[in-house]
């Protein structure tokens, strides 16, 4: 199992996910640094991402779009606020208009990525994302998920019924 743990904070609207990979830290860093590798995993097969700008340095920015099943495009931007190669990366992520300019709507997500060597050739990646608004979270989910899985999640929820904790 690649995913080790996840932690959700409803009040802070944040999610932290910890995963481990059988690869060196420098290799895992490349999947963030190289836009061609990044676009292979950032969007799901139904909403693939294309990065047309990726200034991977502190203060640099990225511009990308995700293409939906009906050809609709949704644009986004990143702004790198900290880069400490190959261990730490921080960036803000938000929605953009057709020209790639930030819309300022729905707020920004702040992401902190930390890579650590667990043992030679094995890397632990921790990604902490926090949202400014629930609207933004909703929008991310609509673009980030495959429909089938979304339905499956809903069904599971129904089967489980009311959860004891919220």
């Amino acid at each position: 199992m690649a995913v080790i743990s996840t932690e959700k904070d409803l009040e802070a609207l944040s999610l932290t996910i910890v995963a481990e990979f059988d690869a060196a830290v420098e290799r895992v860093w490349q999947i963030w640094e190289d836009p061609r590798q990044l676009e292979r995993w950032w969007g799901p097969p139904t909403w693939p991402a294309t990065f047309d700008k990726h200034e991977f340095r502190e203060g640099g920015s990225s511009s990308y779009f995700m293409t939906g099943p009906e050809g609709e495009k949704s644009r986004g931007w990143w702004k790198f606020t900290a880069i400490d190669s190959p261990r730490r990366l921080e960036f803000n992520d938000g929605f953009a208009d057709e020209s790639g300019a930030p819309t300022g709507e729905m707020g920004e997500t702040h992401a902190v990525v930390i890579l650590e060597e667990v043992e030679a050739g094995r890397t632990r990646m921790t990604v902490a994302s926090s949202f400014e608004s629930a609207e933004q979270l909703q929008q991310m989910i609509e673009m980030g998920m495959e429909e089938g899985l979304k339905e499956a999640m809903g069904q599971i929820d129904e089967i489980l019924g009311e959860r004891a904790s919220v």
Partner: protein, 101 residues
Amino acid sequence: MDRLFHALADSTRRSIVLRAISEEHSVSALAAHYAMSFAAVQKHVAVLEQASLVTKEKRGREQMVRANRETVRKARQLLDEYEQIWRQRVDRITEILAEDE
């Protein structure tokens, strides 16, 4: 749904909902927790009430606030779904890294 997200977009309102999940509180008891006026807290509660995140019940001179667990669960589900997005991303990263071998 729009009302729900608007209601949750504010950190004070999210905090009020969390307090009201475990037990019901009067508006004045809630107001004591925040550095703002009673009227301001009352306004936040009204927004939450419109979004069905809380219900308000008059008891004597007090307005008792209780969280609507079903609506809160919906919000929680959003984070669950976002977790799934990241789990899928991790799977795709694993596949890309496996190609190296």
